[in-house]
C-alpha cells in the first residue's frame, strides 16, 4: 500500500469510529440521568394551587435528584388542563419532561368526549397530595348537620359548570347523600363559590378544606362533613363521610399526581419517584406546607394509580 492510500484508510477508520462513538452518547446520557434540566409542565396558569405546589417543591427536587439539575416549571394552560396534558403525552419519554394530570378532571371529560389521546397510557410517577374536600354552608344558615341538609327541599348548590371536577363532586354528593339538589352554576372558581355562600346566593358548596378552612375560623362558613375516611386534622369536630356511613363519597378529592410520557423507562420513573419521596420528607418543605396550609403526602405512582381506578368507578356511576 502507498502512503496516501494508508492515510485514506486511517481517515475512513477514524470517521467510522467517531460515528460509532456518537451513537453511544445517548446511551451514556440515559445511564447518567439526569444530566440536564428537567421540565415540569403545569397545565394551568401561574398562581393556581397546582402551580404554587410545583414552584415550592421543584427546588427540593433539585436537592434530592442526582447531579443537582434544575427542575423548571413551565405553565401550559388551556382546555381545562388538556393542552398541558397532551404536551406531556407527546414528549420524548426520556425523563426530561413530566407533569400533572388533573384527576378526576380528565377522566370526567373523557367520559363525555374523545380527547384525542389516552392518558391512561402515561406512566405514573408519584402522588404528592390528595386535597380533602368539605361540604361548606354559610355560618349564618340553620343547617348544622348533614341530616339537616338531607331534610331541606330544595338544597341550592353553588358550583362551577358541568364538566368541571367540582360539579362532579356535587353530583356524587347529591346521589350518595340523597339531597334534593338545585344547581346554581356559573361560579368561576372555589373562591367565588365561597363568597357566594357568604352572600347568601345558595345553601351549600363543596370546597377544598385546607384552602377555605380560614373562612371557618373567621366565622363565615361552616363545614358539615368532610369527604374523607377519617376526620381531618384541621377540623376535628367535623364528621367524615365514612364515619356517617357514606364511604363512596370519599371519591370526592382532587389529586395531585405526576405522570411521565408513555414509554418512560421504569428506572427513570423510579429516580424521579425517589426524589419526590425525599423532597416531601424535607423539614423545610414541610414547614412551608404547614404555613401555607398546603397538605402534602407522598404515595408512589403505581399505588396511586390503582387507587384512582376504584375512584373512577364512582364517577362513572354518577354522571
Amino acid at each position: 500500500m502507498t502512503g496516501s492510500q494508508h492515510k485514506k484508510i486511517i481517515a475512513a477508520f477514524t470517521i467510522l469510529f467517531s460515528f460509532f462513538m456518537l451513537t453511544l452518547i445517548p446511551a451514556c446520557m440515559a445511564a447518567d440521568y439526569p444530566s440536564k434540566n428537567i421540565v415540569w409542565i403545569v397545565a394551568s396558569a401561574p398562581g393556581g394551587g397546582f402551580d404554587t405546589y410545583a414552584r415550592a417543591i421543584s427546588p427540593y427536587l433539585t436537592k434530592y435528584l442526582p447531579n443537582n439539575v434544575n427542575v423548571i416549571v413551565k405553565n401550559v394552560s388551556g382546555a381545562g388542563g388538556l393542552t398541558g396534558a397532551s404536551q406531556i403525552f407527546a414528549a420524548k419519554p426520556d425523563g426530561y419532561t413530566f407533569g400533572y394530570l388533573y384527576y378526576p378532571g380528565i377522566a370526567i371529560i373523557q367520559m363525555e368526549k374523545d380527547i384525542g389521546f389516552d392518558p391512561s397510557k402515561m406512566v405514573p410517577i408519584a402522588q404528592i397530595a390528595a386535597d380533602a374536600q368539605g361540604l361548606f354552608v354559610p355560618a349564618k344558615s340553620d343547617l348544622k348537620t348533614l341530616a339537616d341538609l338531607q331534610k331541606k327541599d330544595p338544597v341550592k348548590i353553588l358550583t362551577q359548570p358541568k364538566g368541571v371536577t367540582m360539579y362532579s363532586f356535587n353530583l356524587i354528593a347529591e346521589n350518595v347523600f340523597g339531597l334534593k339538589a338545585k344547581y346554581i352554576t356559573g361560579y368561576k372558581g372555589s373562591a367565588v363559590v365561597a363568597t357566594g355562600l357568604m352572600r347568601g346566593d345558595g345553601d351549600m358548596g363543596i370546597l377544598p378544606v385546607s384552602n377555605f378552612y380560614n373562612y371557618v375560623e373567621s366565622g363565615d362558613l361552616r363545614i358539615l362533613v368532610t369527604f374523607t375516611d377519617k376526620r381531618e386534622s384541621l377540623t376535628p369536630d367535623v364528621p367524615s363521610a365514612t364515619e356517617l356511613g357514606y364511604p363512596k363519597a370519599t371519591a370526592c378529592k382532587s389529586w395531585k399526581i405526576l405522570f411521565g410520557p408513555p414509554g418512560l423507562p421504569a428506572d427513570i420513573a423510579n429516580t424521579l419517584q425517589e426524589a419526590f419521596k425525599n423532597a416531601l420528607d424535607d423539614p423545610d418543605l414541610k414547614a412551608w406546607g404547614e404555613k401555607s396550609n398546603s397538605s402534602m403526602e407522598f404515595i408512589d405512582g403505581q399505588t396511586a394509580w390503582k387507587q384512582l381506578q376504584e375512584v373512577f368507578k364512582v364517577y362513572q356511576q354518577y354522571r
Binding site: 393556581g48 388551556g78 359548570p161 346554581i184 373562591a191 363568597t195 384552602n211 401555607s292
Partner: protein, 499 residues
C-alpha cells in the same frame, strides 16, 4: 388598623424595600409599554424570581410591577394606538388622536399626572371606605354584577359615536365572539370546532393585540402619511407639551376626582375586572361633558378620565383579592399565587392577621404609580419622537413586539395566528367604518352578562323581579338609564337656560 398602616408605611422607607419597589416599577413600566408583555405576562415571569425573598419585600416588588403597569400601558396606547392591556383601552380614544395632532407630549403629561393622582385619590377613597368594604363586597351579587355589565355594554355603544347602527352591529358581534368556548354556565363547548385551542374561547390578550395594535399597524402602512403624527413638523417637542398636559389635569379637577372614585369602586367589586373601569369612567365623562363633540378628537378630559380610573382601581381590587381570595382581575390571580407561594393564605384571616401586608401592597402600588408617572415624564421627551419617526421603521418593530407579546402570554403559537387574523379583521373594519371598540367590549362583557343574568334567575325566587327588588341592582339600573339620557336632559336644560 392604623398601626398596620403606619407599620407598612414605615417599612417602605427601608433601603431594601425602596430598591424592590423601584426595580418593580422600572420593570413594570417597561413591560407595560410593550404591547402584549404587560401585567399578567410580566407578573408570571417574575413570580418565581421572588421565591427567595421574604414575603414583605416580595410584595413590595410585585406592587411595583402592578402599580407601574397602567401608565406603562398608556404610553403605547397614546403613541401607537395599542393598549398594553384591556385596562388601557379607553386611553386610545383621545390619547392617540392627540398624538396624531402632534400633541403626544400633552397626552403623556395628562396621563402621567392623572395616573399618579388617580393612584393617590384611589387610596384615600379606599381608606375612607375600608370599614365598609366587606359590606360592599357582600352586597354585590349576580344581579348587581349583571347591572354593572349592562351599564358597561350600554356605555360602549354610546362611546362608539358616529355610527350607532354600525356600533350596535360590532357590539353584537363582540357578544357572539365571547360565547365561543366552554360555557361557564352549562359547561357545554360552543363553537370550538373540536379543537383544544378554542376551548377557552377567543383569548383576550392576543385578540386585543390583533384587533387594536396589528390592525392599526396595517392601517398605518396603507395610509399616505409617513409618520404617526399627521405632520411631523408640528409635533410639540420638549417639555412644553408635557407641562401643558399637567396643567390640563388641574384644570379639570372634578373629572379627576370623579374618575378616581369610579375607578376605586369598580375595582372593589370583584368579578368585573379592570377592563370596565376605564371605559365606564370615559363614558361618564363623555356623557356629562358640555362639549361631547370634542371627545374622540383629543379632548383632555377623554384622557384624564380613563387614566385616573385605571390607577385608582388597582388599590380597590386588592381588597376582594386579599380579603376573599377572589381575584379582581387576571393580574390579581397571579398575585394570589404569589401569596400562597410565600405561605400567606388570602381570606378573611389575612385581613385580620396580616393587615400590614395588605397595606404594604396598597401603599407600594400607590408609590409605584406615582414613581412611574415621574419616570414617565422624564423619558417622555424622547418617547414623543416615536410620533415623528417614519412609519416604515415603526411598523416592523412594533409588529414584531406585538407578535412576541401574543406568544408570550401563554406560550401558544396559535395565539400569534389569532392576533394576525384579528389584525386583518380589525383593518377591514376600520376601512369600512365599523367601530372596533364595541367589538372588544362586547367580547369582554358578553359571557359575563350571560352568566350573571342566568345566575340571578337561578338564585331568584321571584323570577325577573330579583333585578328590581334588590336595592343596589335597582339603583344601578336607574343609574344606567339616567346616564344614557343625560345628554337629552342637558339639552333641555340649556334650552331653558337660553330662554
Amino acid at each position: 388598623m392604623t398601626e398596620a398602616f403606619l407599620y407598612a408605611l414605615a417599612k417602605i422607607f427601608f433601603w431594601k424595600n425602596l430598591i424592590y419597589i423601584f426595580a418593580g416599577t422600572l420593570i413594570g413600566l417597561f413591560f407595560g409599554a410593550l404591547p402584549g408583555l404587560s401585567s399578567v405576562v410580566s407578573l408570571s415571569i417574575f413570580l418565581p424570581l421572588t421565591y427567595g425573598m421574604d414575603p414583605l419585600s416580595a410584595m413590595f416588588f410585585y406592587s411595583g410591577l402592578m402599580g407601574a403597569n397602567p401608565f406603562g400601558g398608556s404610553i403605547s396606547a397614546i403613541l401607537i394606538n395599542t393598549p398594553g392591556t384591556a385596562q388601557n383601552i379607553a386611553t386610545i380614544f383621545d390619547g392617540y388622536p392627540m398624538t396624531q395632532k402632534g400633541e403626544a407630549g400633552r397626552a403623556l403629561g395628562i396621563s402621567a399626572t392623572a395616573s399618579g393622582l388617580g393612584a393617590i385619590f384611589g387610596i384615600l377613597v379606599l381608606i375612607i371606605i375600608m370599614p365598609l368594604v366587606r359590606k360592599i363586597i357582600m352586597s354585590f351579587g349576580p344581579p348587581e354584577f349583571f347591572m354593572l355589565v349592562l351599564f358597561g355594554l350600554c356605555m360602549v355603544v354610546v362611546a362608539a359615536r358616529g355610527n350607532l347602527v354600525k356600533g350596535l352591529f360590532t357590539g353584537c358581534l363582540g357578544l357572539l365572539l365571547s360565547f365561543i368556548g366552554r360555557s361557564s354556565l352549562t359547561g357545554t363547548l360552543r363553537f370550538d370546532f373540536n379543537t383544544f385551542y378554542l376551548w377557552d374561547g377567543i383569548v383576550l390578550i392576543p385578540f386585543v393585540i390583533g384587533i387594536l395594535a396589528i390592525a392599526e399597524l396595517i392601517s398605518l402602512g396603507t395610509k399616505q402619511q409617513t409618520t404617526i403624527a399627521y405632520s411631523a413638523k408640528d409635533v410639540a417637542t420638549g417639555y412644553k407639551g408635557l407641562w401643558k398636559g399637567m396643567k390640563d389635569v388641574f384644570q379639570h379637577k372634578i373629572c379627576l376626582l370623579r374618575s378616581a372614585c369610579i375607578g376605586t369602586l369598580v375595582g372593589i367589586i370583584p368579578g368585573i375586572g379592570g377592563a370596565v373601569a376605564n371605559v365606564v369612567s370615559y363614558t361618564v365623562a363623555f356623557q356629562s361633558s358640555s362639549h361631547p363633540e370634542t371627545f374622540g378628537k383629543g379632548d383632555p378630559e377623554g384622557v384624564i378620565a380613563p387614566e385616573a380610573a385605571n390607577n385608582a382601581k388597582d388599590g380597590g381590587s386588592m381588597l376582594p383579592t386579599l380579603g376573599f381570595g377572589i381575584p379582581g382581575s387576571a393580574e390579581m390571580a397571579v398575585l394570589l399565587g404569589a401569596f400562597i407561594l410565600h405561605g400567606l393564605t388570602p381570606g378573611p384571616v389575612l385581613i385580620k392577621e396580616h393587615l400590614d401586608i395588605v397595606w404594604a401592597l396598597i401603599l407600594g402600588m400607590t408609590f409605584s404609580g406615582i414613581l412611574a408617572s415621574c419616570l414617565g415624564i422624564l423619558v417622555s421627551k424622547y418617547v414623543i419622537k416615536i410620533s415623528q419617526i417614519n412609519v416604515s421603521y415603526i411598523i416592523p418593530l412594533v409588529g414584531a413586539i406585538c407578535l412576541v407579546g401574543a406568544f408570550a402570554y401563554r406560550d401558544n403559537v396559535l395565539d400569534v395566528l389569532l392576533a394576525v387574523i384579528f389584525g386583518f379583521i380589525g383593518f377591514g373594519m376600520k376601512t369600512f367604518g365599523f367601530p372596533i371598540i364595541p367589538l372588544v367590549m362586547g367580547h369582554v362583557l358578553g359571557q359575563m352578562a350571560e352568566v350573571y343574568f342566568n345566575q340571578s334567575l337561578m338564585i331568584s325566587e321571584i323570577g325577573y323581579g330579583i333585578f328590581f327588588t334588590r336595592k343596589i341592582s335597582l339603583g344601578l339600573f336607574i343609574g344606567t338609564v339616567v346616564v344614557l339620557l343625560l345628554p337629552f336632559f342637558k339639552k333641555r336644560f340649556q334650552k331653558k337656560a337660553a330662554k
